[in-house]
């Protein structure tokens, strides 16, 4: 059973996917001079997300660290 502190200080591999989900699709949206839109993040990224989420799932459940976003799932 993990305590708050253990979770906080655990050397975790916060997956790239978790970060992308937040910084690309959430966060404040304002009328800056340049702001990316959903249309900018096209199919290539979406396809990559599918791949990334499968890697993240496997590694996380095995408890192993993720070496990099492009690691091939075994």
């Amino acid at each position: 059973m993990k305590t708050y502190n253990e979770l906080l200080h655990e050397k975790r591999n916060v997956t790239l996917l978790e970060i992308l989900d937040r910084v690309l699709e959430k966060g404040v949206v304002i009328s800056g001079d340049i702001v990316i839109s959903v249309a900018d993040v096209d199919l290539c990224y979406l396809g990559l997300k599918v791949f990334l989420s499968s890697v993240a799932t496997m590694e996380r459940l095995r408890g192993a660290p993720i070496l990099g976003p492009m690691q091939e799932p075994t």
Binding site: Y4, I34, I36, K49, S53
Partner: protein, 265 residues
């Protein structure tokens, strides 16, 4: 701090604060990190090159995974670092301005909204919970607990090929319905119990997933805004749910604290 922006640069906005942000810990992540003060708000910014971030090149770079990974880690790293000392409103990746005046105009226009949001977010953290299901394990568990399947199997074993086909199809449909309902039950049950330990909660849509060769699928992706004083109770429920769901091949993955990306206006 005087920031000189020239024609080759854009101003990249990371987050807003109510109190003076401490830049020292994260300023090594970029060439130079600044804050701009305007109307009681501190905007944490850096200069970035138009080469990389002008509208046209940005669109190209967004599809370059290597570039994107590097930049999002900088973005997230800076905000997480600032967040250690004072609560933040995080901005979306690549929120850019041509001039300081433009940034200030934006702050001016939205000052009331930002201040209200910052006031609300003080003393709170965002936590994320993803739930994974090992479909085959859950199916086995469902078959075990419902005698109906045993009876169908008995009938299958003593039936003609035609009837076997029909019965097998019926069994598969029955199992699929049970599986779907059980998954809904897990998602709703866990969400409600976690929501009770939080101030705000949101069930996010799921990303498309590879289905071939996947042992596990994501069945739930939710985020919670938790009062710092309630964190232990929240984590406690996560651990309880982990234990309860384990035998059915359902697991929880809890991450945090995050900047409140899902809870800012």
């Amino acid at each position: 701090m005087y920031m000189k922006s020239n024609g080759n640069n854009l101003i990249y906005l990371y987050c807003l604060n109510e109190l003076t942000p401490k830049l020292k810990e994260v300023e090594h992540l970029v060439e130079k990190l600044y804050f701009i003060y305007h109307r009681g708000l501190y905007a944490v910014v850096s200069l970035v090159s138009k080469d990389e971030f002008c509208e046209e090149n940005l669109k190209t770079n967004l599809n370059n995974m290597e570039w994107l990974e590097k930049k999002v880690y900088i973005h997230e790293g800076i905000i997480q670092g600032i967040m250690k000392n004072t609560w933040v409103i995080p901005f979306k990746f690549a929120t850019l301005f041509n001039t300081v005046d433009n940034l200030k105009a934006c702050l001016e226009q939205n000052a009331a909204k930002f201040k209200e949001n910052l006031k609300y977010l003080k003393g709170k953290e965002e936590w994320g919970v993803k739930i994974y299901c090992e479909t085959e394990r859950l199916k086995e568990s469902l078959i075990r607990e419902d005698k109906k399947f045993l009876l169908i199997d008995k009938e299958i074993n003593s039936s003609t090929p035609g009837k076997v086909f029909f019965l097998t199809k019926m069994k598969d449909e029955l199992l699929k319905n049970k599986l779907d309902n059980k998954i809904i039950e897990y998602v709703q049950n866990s969400f409600e119990r976690l929501r009770e330990q939080s101030l705000e909660a949101s069930l996010n849509k799921l990303s498309p997933q590879k289905t071939n060769g996947q042992k596990s699928t994501v069945i739930s992706n939710s985020v919670f805004l938790v009062d710092k004083n309630q964190i232990n109770s929240f984590i406690n429920i996560v651990n309880i749910l982990k234990e309860e769901y384990e035998n059915d091949g359902v697991s929880l993955d809890c991450t945090g604290p995050w900047p409140p990306y899902n809870f800012c206006t």
